[in-house]
Symmetry: C2
Subunit: 335 residues, 2 copies
Amino acid sequence: MKDVIRLAHGNGGKLSWQLIKEIFLPILSNPHLAPLRDSAIVEVEGKKIAFTTDSYVVKPIFFPGGDIGKLAISGTVNDLTVMGAKPLFISCGLIIEEGFPIPTLKRVITSLQETAKNVGVTVVTGDTKVVEKGSADEIFINTSGIGIVLPEANLDPERIKVGDHILINGSIGEHAIAVLSQRQELGFEVPAKSDCAPLFDLVNEIRSFLTCIKFMRDATRGGVAGVLNEIVQGEDFGIELWEDEIPVREETFAVCELLGLDPLYLANEGKILIFVEKERSLDLLSHLHHHPLGKDTRIIGEVVSEPRGKVYLETTIGTKRILDLLVEDQLPRIC
Amino acid sequence: MKDVIRLAHGNGGKLSWQLIKEIFLPILSNPHLAPLRDSAIVEVEGKKIAFTTDSYVVKPIFFPGGDIGKLAISGTVNDLTVMGAKPLFISCGLIIEEGFPIPTLKRVITSLQETAKNVGVTVVTGDTKVVEKGSADEIFINTSGIGIVLPEANLDPERIKVGDHILINGSIGEHAIAVLSQRQELGFEVPAKSDCAPLFDLVNEIRSFLTCIKFMRDATRGGVAGVLNEIVQGEDFGIELWEDEIPVREETFAVCELLGLDPLYLANEGKILIFVEKERSLDLLSHLHHHPLGKDTRIIGEVVSEPRGKVYLETTIGTKRILDLLVEDQLPRIC
């Protein structure tokens, strides 16, 4: 039973990376497929285009703060946004389980369209497949997206240097907790709301900083700790996070305590990690504070020289804790 | 039970069209989402780009002549090709059922990559989601694609005129029969092989004809009859097909007879319908015959003034038979 796909192959942790590095990259080998990036940057007749894809299998499909439709636009818009691209066009591929209620489908597509409209992207092409009852779970949505890379963007993990500051635009873990709160097996009420939101508007607001921003990633699957681990792997620098500075809402803490979860590994759907020159970080911080989606931005850590290839937490009580890539799923089907 | 999604909503027949027209188009309303087209044509900084998406849920995932990986590249390449676009970049979104064997995954991705390489497209971005056992059926693949529209292409169903000839590049129904032949419940052996193939190379061969070609579509879900019905709907012309001229292999006929299927409604994955000015059709035919994927091309019918909005068959015995859009699925999960 070892040589089979497990849930953990899809969680953004160790097994996901193993799958990408040992199976996908060797077979599909080409320079565009850089595993660190949220979108590919391709050239079409001299224009730099960002191209990305994501399937959404979140369970349940409605949760406080969002639904699979809003998520499918937000997630794909954000994968373009963190590449410094302006999202333009989205495709929508539906796989629907036989028996799925049409009014629910309408609700999902309406939410998807509203989110798209608000962020200024257009759903230009689509596809619908229906499979027998029991061959899928309600509805899965794939959205792929095309954006045009902003000329001032020069985002590249290779530009990250020791001393760079790391910002996040608000409190973490809320998407995962909101989805979790709806799982019937949980058995208690959680006052959580997903942070699910498209972030292009926020990044557009700080466009003038794009030359001194080194790299951005949205902290989805694997959470802040997972995503930062991907960035340091094999590099000659490490990342130090300051526990005191990491924004976590009290309710999130409470649920995490109860269920033995670590908010640093919980998926977000509206949180972006920004690596920026130390000299510009305070200025960037105050700019981000002007935007509703950035008002709780904090500088949460910095790039350090040691230990190389590791992410560690300076805890509130002054100890250091290494944050490794997780092997097992904390929570499957969160996005 | 009426207001729920049925398998027939995904078969390219009447219910598929109802879903698109009554749910998707009103909610997602925008000029790009033209239901007749296989890709959207969008403009990015002055460049005309074709963008398309398709999810593949074929069951079983291996069949004579192909597999879900080859299909996922061929289908998406063909959706770009019939828009007169040169396919460039492909995204690959996998939804995998927990427990799926990793060696099988390797086989699928290798086949996908080989097909991509042969047709000159690059898989530049991907995503993998894993769902619990029983929440999906083995593996579903979404591929989206980007192509650049060839400058000489001027394909538009509005250019179709009475008198135009309709060509198809070979015999029909083989993909559906090949997939069907692998279904355990069938209980007999069929010497069928899917026609699954990327067709860009064929269309590139007849590039000089692109100015006089009015419209192209690949005859996938719904088959030749389904696709042609979509084209005539609401138009002031009809389509006459000549049964004598429609290439169907003997084995396909035999299975269709046995199972009560009509080859005109069976899915193809390597067949393209070409609408061309009558004056150029013989010349185009002889050009297509030079290419391995076009050697069995036939002129199978023409655009007629009456009956409007209908497709009919001039049968071998001289009668006329209206070919309507089907309501029920002939065969679910064929692509």
